[in-house]
Symmetry: C2
Subunit: 379 residues, 2 copies
Amino acid sequence: MADQLPETSLQIRTLVTPEGKLELSLESAPVKVPGPDQVLVRVEGTPINPSDLGLLVGGADMSTAVQGGTKDSPTISADVPAGGLRAMKARLGQSLGVGNEGAGTVIAAGDSPAAQALLGKMVTCLGGNMYQEYRTLHVSQCMALPDGTTAEQGASCYVNPLTALSFVETMKAKGHSALVHTAAASNLGQMLNKICLKDGVPILNVVRKKEQEDILRGIGAKHIVNSSSDTFMEDLISGLVETGATMGFDAIGGGPLAGQLLIAMEAAANRKMKEYSRYGSGTETQVYIYGRLDMSPSIVPAGVGFAWNLSGYLLTPFLEKAAPEVRERMHKRVIDELNTTFASHYTKTVSLAEALDLETLHAYNAKATGEKYLIAPNA
Amino acid sequence: MADQLPETSLQIRTLVTPEGKLELSLESAPVKVPGPDQVLVRVEGTPINPSDLGLLVGGADMSTAVQGGTKDSPTISADVPAGGLRAMKARLGQSLGVGNEGAGTVIAAGDSPAAQALLGKMVTCLGGNMYQEYRTLHVSQCMALPDGTTAEQGASCYVNPLTALSFVETMKAKGHSALVHTAAASNLGQMLNKICLKDGVPILNVVRKKEQEDILRGIGAKHIVNSSSDTFMEDLISGLVETGATMGFDAIGGGPLAGQLLIAMEAAANRKMKEYSRYGSGTETQVYIYGRLDMSPSIVPAGVGFAWNLSGYLLTPFLEKAAPEVRERMHKRVIDELNTTFASHYTKTVSLAEALDLETLHAYNAKATGEKYLIAPNA
């Protein structure tokens, strides 16, 4: 087996120096021969998710970014302000690989039956360091895709689909009956609406533009409020009364929005109360911040009652704590509904070198709604 | 029995008018004859806690307060700004009684054995509307005090003692091993330190003045940091590393402090990590806001990791959810340690009329550390 293997794998690396420079580059690293329970995947499609950008460009000020290197081996460097440097203290001086997920063909496999079963198959992977040509992974980090599935179709099976499914699982596990979601016209937000429509879970969508309302209406969303509207708070409270949502997932993180959700949930609960309680409604409300599109602080005003909760949220610990049957059910659903509920559409497919073209990077780093880039490391 | 009963009970009332005026007054209301499971308590001592002030003066601007009425029947009125009015929407136009807790003598009791057992006893009560001469309560809202206990000694058995005990119970129930507490030199903070010292629970105290450090050192507190110090964040992180505290209780609520606790907990966790994770340490951190000495919004910056939680906290729902044996254990401990761990000291004892003297109200509404007022409605 070993003699057929590629020896090196070109990959994107990100480094923040202790002096405050972000340095992105392409590097060639030796390919690791798979152990008994491992497979070697030729990566054919790997998406650029907001969470990947957090690692790739981190706290750097990308308006200072400059292009270096050559067309085939580009580099990008940028200044990291003091605040960003402090937040990234633990990674200073370490060259890191990027890319949470992706899909590709298993071109070598370890001796175990589980590994051998994947040989030659198109698999989807959650591995980290996927922005490279060849990635060695444990079999538990891969799922076989149905025959005929392309890498593009299978590249985004984990982060967005499982996160969206985990919202509904979390809602049920914690005894809530409806959801509110912000940045709701995102790729993830659209999946979440499709899941909720299918499962009969009321969902209130918060967007900030008319076009985003239209996107969501187009896929059948019923409850949409626009945070740019003058009547936003009133609309939000009415939407929460209508849906009964007492749990929210917020992709923005910074600024007033998460606090507004909590205030509006408490106001909605108060509308249903018969007697005054000075401490608040007593209704348990929960907002999870699962993204930080806005890196400024989150603001929680008084007036949220006393049974409110604002928390961080990440898929990985959810999956670690979930019962095996829950994980299995989620995985199965992603595969079953890969071309419907969980279909991803890419604005553009780029090579590893193109991903480090400064103009291209500015384009995907804008995180525009409906825009999503795919890297094809072996194109 | 009924012919010995007082017919009316003088009491403090608070009203916020829809037009935006706070009106405090003394009113005389009919005494309710106790039902089978009820007792009538002659209230002899009832403390003014910060939580009582929240109901008494609410969102009013007390710099606009003016005195009215007579010396024996004083009134106070003040303007309520738009923000305060919005927050108090649910209570507009309702005259409300004040006073969470207090102690006094049972002067009449219903027919049930539980009620009869309390007749003639000094009891401590959690009833609301305690700022009055006579209060009819269900037996479950009263605890008999040991013979010889004065109303002053027994007036504050519930709010601060049970809240302090509930912090340690919550810490254990949620799998944490140490606490951080803000406004730590308060009456409640001192009780909490005594509990933690006795139970061997490490506690990190956050104060803002040198005198408050001295108060806590005087009762044996080991870990104290001062938020006014230039090295506050560094001291806080070191204190969290030393104590291992990953749960905090914050009495301030508004401003940066709660967020600083979360940031520092994450920084302390990162100091113990071997490998970089871009999402954060993964250590579960929890800060509860149990008071709002600062009514401005709470600020949570990025950099708190992904397993952080910021929540409201109130004693009542804790007690409602607690197992009966937990409640019983807590109550027993308060009574057993009434003159040691849970001893309250009062700056001044005032009558109902004196409590509505404007100068006196300004004095207790300042919520100065170590200052606490007691109302003696029957003095």
